[in-house]
């Protein structure tokens, strides 16, 4: 597998997408969305920006399956970290009300 060279046009496009994403997240922060949507919107924009950086600036889109698996393992462990911790925290009050 030879090295893939990403074109300048792609890099410029990603750069502009990231700038628009930053402007969008600042704008959205001042709007009072219902149902606590502000955090969800901010995180959706951040995840989208990060995905563009990983896929294009970091060349993952053109990398081997091995890189995908290694990156995937990071998210897998992060998911465990958050899921297990919050499984504890959000259920703690049940103990105290039960006693």
């Amino acid at each position: 597998m030879s090295e893939h060279i990403v074109s300048v046009r792609v890099y410029i496009t990603i750069f502009l997408v990231l700038l628009v994403g930053t402007a969008l997240t600042v704008w959205a922060a001042f709007v009072d969305f219902p149902f606590g949507l502000n955090t969800i919107i901010a995180m959706t924009i951040a995840v989208t920006k990060a995905t563009f950086v990983v896929l294009y600036f970091m060349h993952v889109r053109y990398s081997s399956r091995l890189i995908w698996v290694i990156l995937g393992s990071a998210f897998f462990w992060m998911a465990i970290l958050f899921a297990f911790t919050f499984a504890d925290y959000v259920t703690r009050h049940r103990l105290s009300t039960g006693m």
């Binding site: 990403v6 990603i14 901010a42 951040a46 462990w77």
Partner: protein, 226 residues
């Protein structure tokens, strides 16, 4: 040669996985305390300088772009633009750190450094009363207490401080790249250091992409609209 290049990139990715988990622990702490003290976190966040934060986000994104271009010019064997892009990346990285230092200083003068880290300037911000618009005073939303705000600033300094440390290390790595690029050590055949340090630089950019909305933007929509 191809296998060597792949192995180098792979090694950097494994290191970045450990970095994701390292920062992941701090993001977990942030999430836990924010869900515990939502009003205090929003109040403390609103005190941060959104303009400087947003400008720094732009600076870092631009530096990621120039880093990607440095990798590109190395791959196609154009030495002068390669060195130019590396120098620009370094300058933008230092600009980010400079702006961060200005922000840290204003937190120091507003007495927002948590605990007793700095002798004679322990945590103790002035709290604004109803109708007071002094930007140096802390505007507490209903339900927020000062110890909870202090918790936000512990997390703020831990996370932005670790991020800044990564930037300083990145600046050192870029200096090394610039020196060796000027010696003509990288060409389309061999340029793993440029590519691998590029991966590290983009990773540090991604951490900031999350830190900016989580630290600076979480309570703005709760402010009174004029």
């Amino acid at each position: 040669m191809e296998q060597q290049r792949e192995a180098g990139t792979l090694g950097m990715w494994v290191f970045l996985v450990t970095e994701i988990m390292f920062f992941g622990g701090m993001f977990l702490a942030y999430t836990l305390y924010r869900t515990s003290f939502p009003a205090a976190f929003a109040s403390a966040s609103n005190h941060l300088d959104i303009t400087l934060g947003a400008v720094n986000t732009g600076v870092l994104i631009l530096s990621s772009f120039t880093m990607a271009m440095a990798v590109y010019f190395t791959q196609v064997g154009k030495s002068r633009p390669q060195i130019l892009c590396l120098v620009l990346t370094l300058i933008l990285g230092l600009t980010f750190l400079g702006i961060k230092a200005v922000e840290y200083h204003s937190k120091y003068t507003d007495r927002l450094i948590p605990g007793h880290v700095i002798p004679g300037a322990e945590f103790g911000p002035a709290v604004a009363h109803e109708g007071d618009t002094d930007p140096h005073k802390l505007h507490l939303l209903e339900g927020a207490t000062l110890p909870q705000v202090e918790m936000f600033y512990w997390i703020y300094f831990a996370m932005t401080g670790m991020h800044a440390l990564h930037m300083i290390i990145g600046a050192g790595l870029l200096t090394y790249l610039i020196i060796f690029a000027m010696k003509g050590r990288f060409d389309p055949e061999y340029h793993s250091p440029v590519e691998v340090i590029g991966l590290y630089w983009h990773f540090v950019d991604i951490v900031w992409i999350f830190l900016f909305p989580l630290l600076y933007l979480l309570g703005r929509h709760l402010l009174e609209h004029h």
